[in-house]
């Protein structure tokens, strides 16, 4: 079966689409989730390389700026980066916190909400939020919509790119490339339920090893994400290269894309209609015969006065 067909029946949300996508056939589909256990990450970047290899991405060869991070940030050709932090904990012990940063595949995706191009961003029944470059117009709204600053616009084709959670692999029964490559089992993949269970197990393990604040990062602000973290210090996500405390779609974006859209559009239509109805009831505004008359009278009076003055001059009257 061709991917398109698989998809068409499994898209539960489409960007810039007012009517609901087919939802009925989601019964048998388990949402998927990628778990990233930061406590097991050695920052080897296997995931980063595997991602580029699978997705045929070759970024520029950059520079070293005095840290292990490279590439330094997400780009249209780098859909995930490892972010390294040297953190001294309360006991004064050094911890090397290494976080794999990529699209979180929000259950309530800000990019999708912001996108004006129908079908350029879709959310599959399994939870993957995918960019469909063919329909992307490169307006950059997805960037403003994303609470995690993930999408990147290409200077080459002006289109927006980000991690697809290897939707092509997942739809063919494989795990994402990054997950498969991970040497330490820091990245795991499976159904949402299984991953949430595993996350709990891993959290308990960390608590047994003295990380009392260990926990799962699965932010409610975006109805949870299909990429979740296990953090040693879930109480302060900020120390992991500024992982947002409690991310949600910016109120500004909601204000712009939420109710405003339909209401304003309606208002515009309404305005036109009102005008039409007003014309039909009150009728046009036009000057009448009286104005014409008045003007003629004015002119007549004027001519009279001028004639009189001429006469007076001729007769030399004072």
């Amino acid at each position: 079966m061709r991917g398109e067909q698989v998809n068409l029946q499994n898209i539960i949300a489409r960007s810039a689409t007012t009517v609901p996508s087919p939802q009925e056939r989601t019964g048998g589909i388990d949402p998927v989730t990628k778990l990233i256990d930061v406590s097991r990450c050695i920052g080897c970047k296997a995931c980063q390389v595997a991602c580029a290899e699978w997705n045929d991405l070759r970024d520029e060869v950059g520079n070293n700026v005095g840290e292990y991070d490279n590439p330094l940030d997400l780009t249209p050709n780098t859909w995930q980066v490892m972010r390294f932090d040297e953190y001294e904990n309360e006991q004064g012990n050094l911890e090397w916190l290494i976080r794999k940063d990529n699209c979180m595949h929000c259950a309530d995706p800000g990019c999708l909400e912001a996108c004006p191009a129908p079908g350029a961003i879709v959310q599959y029944a399994n939870g993957i939020v995918d960019f469909n470059s063919e329909h992307c117009i490169g307006c950059g709204y997805c960037v403003t919509g994303c609470p995690f600053d993930v999408p990147r616009i290409s200077e080459v084709d002006g289109k927006s790119y980000k991690c697809t959670l290897c939707s092509d692999r997942v739809f063919h029964g494989l795990e994402p490339a990054c997950v498969k490559s991970c040497p330490t089992g820091s990245i795991m993949f499976g159904t949402r339920d299984d991953m949430l269970d595993l996350a709990e197990t891993r959290t308990n393990f960390l608590k047994r090893r003295g990380f009392d604040n260990a926990g799962v990062y699965n932010p409610e602000g975006v109805d949870g994400t299909h990429v979740i973290y296990v953090l040693q210090h879930a109480d302060k996500p900020g120390i992991y290269s500024a992982l947002p405390e409690n991310p949600s779609i910016s109120p500004m974006v909601s204000a712009w894309k939420g109710v405003t859209k339909p209401l304003a559009s309606a208002a515009i239509g309404l305005a036109a209609l009102t005008g039409f109805l007003h014309y039909a009831t009150a009728g046009p505004k036009e000057h009448g015969e009286d104005d014409e008359q008045a003007v003629r009278d004015d002119e007549a009076r004027q001519r009279e006065r001028e004639a009189r003055e001429e006469r007076d001059e001729r007769e030399g009257r004072p």
Partner: protein
């Protein structure tokens, strides 16, 4: 590895020391993570830097580079004095109870018999006390002052917590904590494993560091156990295989060795190697040495090898030196004593110490042949690469041939991983352009030489003219043919002691037990015997089932020897044949024979009552706490300072300059002149690899170049502050031998150490990046490293040297 990758998951304590497994072997490291998660194991890292391994470790202790013997010697001291060692194991399975010759002694950092003039030991006294049958005397109470145990106890009594702390620069409490964790594994149901790599081998005392670890493991009863062992993670994909096949100056396949000049007589040559047991009834498996040697000569010289000519004994070159190792070779090359050199998939200009010397040496060659899939710095050593490699081609008369060969993806064959697994792989595509497999290239050269000798004659042509060459396509021997050859086959019918026919003429042999010394068998590498039997290619087996849940997967590929996965596994059972602990059981005596979840490393039918020792390759049948005359710098490991040390003297022997550095190490005059002092080069430097790169290969790969694009050095925050260096600044790192420029990574992960009452800063220097490839051009790290090696292996001291750091 004595054990194997998956077995690490059975460990209770993993010590990452002298290695950085997460960085260098991430996938093998998976089994450490599994041990932590499923076996509640702890991971301890002892390293100069807080490494990627440390990032996921349960405990980290910093240490000054090159002081591991002190750290582990102290552990030995602690285990013995606190009685926290596995006494039954030590008594039964080690040479602790054997008595040592009276001449043996140790004074002020030197063992007896040191000849200061030529820097060598006379090792005569380094022996046991023997009775008239040549058997060692024993004291089962371990109380005799001359027994190995007591001598060892005395030797390490100097390694107190304070001494160790001042030598290593590791805080006392951290040392004690690691020692305690290790001591816990003295329990029979607990095992600890050492994961090490070049961080132990690349020191002037490398071999002895590893010996120290082995002693610790014997004391704790962790050898031959599940989740135990001393595990060399090893470097290249087939470095294990090349070692097994003996591609080293003094070796022959299967750890057989070449004769030296004095071994003019074949019988003596064999007797010296076919070692008799030193303890009654022990197996001492090397006693069968001649079977392996003769079978090898039959494989190489076929019918030309006869009893009459001692199986072509004189066709083997004899060693005029201990080793013709690379340091020795490049010294001679530098002297102009070498005319030709072949580099097969090897990049000495980048990989050998003191690059300037290597460049000069190569420039004095008449011809250089580089066989490689990639461009290498070595092949272009004559080419001017600006500031990174500034030479004048016109002044270099070396004729350089560059021959393109296949990559792994374009050939069939096997490689041996560090678990000793021979794994067969298949060709996926043809090589690019005109590239040929190495076998075709070597055959191409050899067959032409052979023809020239046929036509013109020349110096000692016999071995060349008679080299057995039975391959279907002589110009390109196939991997299958070669593999069948090193497995071995019967030239004539082979019979056992009772005259039963066990192998028919022409059949592949099943294991080395069938080899004969009478010329009726041929075998290219006796330890590989069994890899390609009449049953076919065992190395291509892909049954990954693990019926015992022990992680042995006996049906996957083929492991030497005899498909055995854990060496010395007899030691996993008590002397009475029952496992030390159910959760650690590997093999056990079932009343008639040895059985278990691995191939027993022991005669299958030797009952416990026979009390044969588990270390069957040793003459004592026991683990050697006392190395006798096998180690150049002494039977017990002793700490000596690196040849470039940041402190003035060896804190253990401050008053004996002879005992400052390894007394057994060899160093050439010019190289000694090129050693720096801490006055001029104050910082201790260590070179290493990163996980994003593999040596000087992956800098040619776009994907890896992206992941780690530019050369950098790691500098601790306090040193950086001292030198006014900020993250991202360009710095110049200089040693007595040259300088490199790189970006500074300023980090909390390298802390200053208090060593012998002095603050020592360490500088980390990754070695990838050169002046070729996709990454940013850079100076080669080995511009800085000193040309001095380990006394036994001559492995260069890449891990400990002195540098100065300047901001650019």
């Amino acid at each position: 590895m004595t054990n194997h990758w998956v077995d690490i998951r059975n460990a209770d304590l993993i010590i990452g020391m002298g290695g950085n497994p997460a960085e260098a072997h991430p996938v093998g490291f998976r089994w450490v993570m599994e041990a932590r998660e499923h076996n509640d194991a702890r991971l301890v890292v002892v390293d100069p830097r807080f490494t990627r391994t440390a990032a996921v470790a349960d405990y980290f202790a910093e240490i000054r580079t090159g002081t591991d013997i002190a750290f582990l010697g102290g552990l030995i001291h602690y285990l013995i004095e606190s009685g926290r060692f596995q006494r039954d194991y030590v008594l039964a399975y080690t040479d602790a109870s054997l008595l040592v010759a009276d001449e043996f002694g140790f004074e002020d950092g030197l063992f007896n018999g040191y000849d200061a003039d030529n820097g060598e030991y006379e090792m005569e006294g380094w022996q046991y006390q023997y009775d008239e049958d040549g058997h060692a005397l024993r004291d089962e109470t371990l109380q005799h002052p001359r027994c190995v145990f007591q001598l060892m106890r005395q030797h390490y009594s100097r390694y107190t917590l304070d001494v160790v702390s001042s030598v290593c620069g590791t805080p006392r409490e951290k040392i004690q904590h690691v020692w305690d964790m290790a001591a816990e594994t003295a329990a029979p149901d607990k095992t600890m494993t050492f994961l090490y790599a070049l961080g132990w081998t690349q020191h002037s005392i490398g071999s002895q560091i590893i010996r120290t670890a082995a002693i610790v493991q014997l004391l704790l009863g962790n050898m031959g156990m599940r989740g135990g062992g001393v595990n060399a993670l090893r470097g290249h994909s087939n470095i294990q295989g090349l070692t097994d096949l003996g591609l080293l100056s003094d070796q022959l396949p299967g750890y057989l060795t070449l004769p030296d000049d004095d071994e003019q007589d074949y019988e003596d040559f064999i007797l010296e190697r076919a070692r008799p047991p030193l303890v009654p009834e022990e197996i001492s498996y090397w006693r069968y040495y001649e079977r392996f040697h003769v079978s090898l000569m039959k494989a190489w010289y076929g019918d030309a090898a006869t009893e009459a000519n001692n199986w072509c004994y004189d066709w083997l070159p004899k060693m005029g030196e201990d080793l013709y190792d690379i340091l020795h070779t490049f010294e001679r090359m530098h002297q102009g004593e070498i005319n030709g050199y072949l580099c097969q998939g090897f990049n000495p200009l980048a990989a050998f110490p003191h690059k300037a010397k290597v460049t000069e040496a190569l420039s004095r060659l008449k011809f250089l042949v580089v066989i490689d899939p990639l461009r290498t710095e070595t092949a272009e050593f004559w080419m001017n690469h600006g500031e990174y490699h500034d030479v004048d081609p016109a002044a270099i008369d070396t004729e350089v041939f560059r021959l393109p060969t296949t990559s792994f993806a374009e050939e069939d064959g096997t490689i041996v991983n560090s678990s000793r697994w021979l794994q067969w792989f298949w060709q996926a595509a043809p090589p690019p352009g005109e590239a040929k497999p190495d076998t075709a290239i070597l055959a191409g050269i050899f067959l032409r030489m052979q023809r020239l000798y046929q036509e013109e004659g020349g110096a000692f042509p016999d071995p060349i003219l008679n080299l057995h060459w039975p391959y279907r396509r002589p110009e390109e021997p196939s991997p299958e043919e070669l593999a069948r050859e090193y497995n071995g086959w019967a030239l004539e019918d082979v019979f056992d002691e009772d005259r039963n026919l066990v192998v028919r003429a022409g059949e592949q042999i099943e294991d080395f037990g069938f080899l004969r010394a009478d010329g009726s068998t041929a075998c290219g590498c006796w330890i590989f015997a069994g890899c390609w039997t009449e049953g076919g290619n065992q190395m291509a087996r892909r049954d990954n089932s693990d019926p015992y849940g022990s992680g042995q997967t006996l049906g996957w590929a083929w492991s030497w020897p005899a498909n055995r996965r854990i060496l010395y596994n007899r030691a996993s059972a008590r002397p009475d044949g029952t496992p030390w602990a159910a959760n650690k059981a590997v093999v056990w005596w079932d009343g008639e024979r040895w059985v278990g979840n691995d191939v027993p490393d022991f005669p299958e039918d030797s009952p416990p009552e026979a009390t044969q020792g588990p270390f069957i390759m040793n003459q004592t049948g026991r683990g050697q706490l006392f190395a006798r005359d096998r180690m150049k710098e002494g039977p017990f490991p002793e700490h000596y300072e690196p040849f470039e040390t940041p402190i003035a003297s060896n804190p253990l022997h401050p008053d004996n300059p002879l005992a400052k550095h390894n007394p057994g190490a060899r160093i050439f005059p010019q190289d000694r002149e090129n050693l720096g002092t801490f006055e001029e080069f104050p910082h201790a430097a260590t070179s290493y690899r990163l996980t994003e790169h593999f040596h000087y290969w992956t800098m040619h790969n776009r994907l890896n170049a992206i992941a780690q694009p530019e050369k950098f050095v790691e500098i601790g925050e306090s040193l950086a502050q001292e030198l006014g260096i900020a993250k991202g600044d360009r710095v110049r790192v200089s040693s007595k031998r040259g300088h490199i420029d790189a970006v500074a990574v300023v980090t909390k992960r390298i802390r200053p150490l208090q060593v012998a009452g002095k603050t020592v800063h360490q500088v980390g220097i990754p070695l990838h990046w050169g002046f070729l490839g996709e990454t940013k051009k850079a100076h080669l790290t080995n511009t800085l490293t000193p040309s001095v090696g380990d006394a036994n292996t001559q492995t260069p001291e890449y891990k400990s040297f002195l540098v100065r750091v300047d901001k650019l």
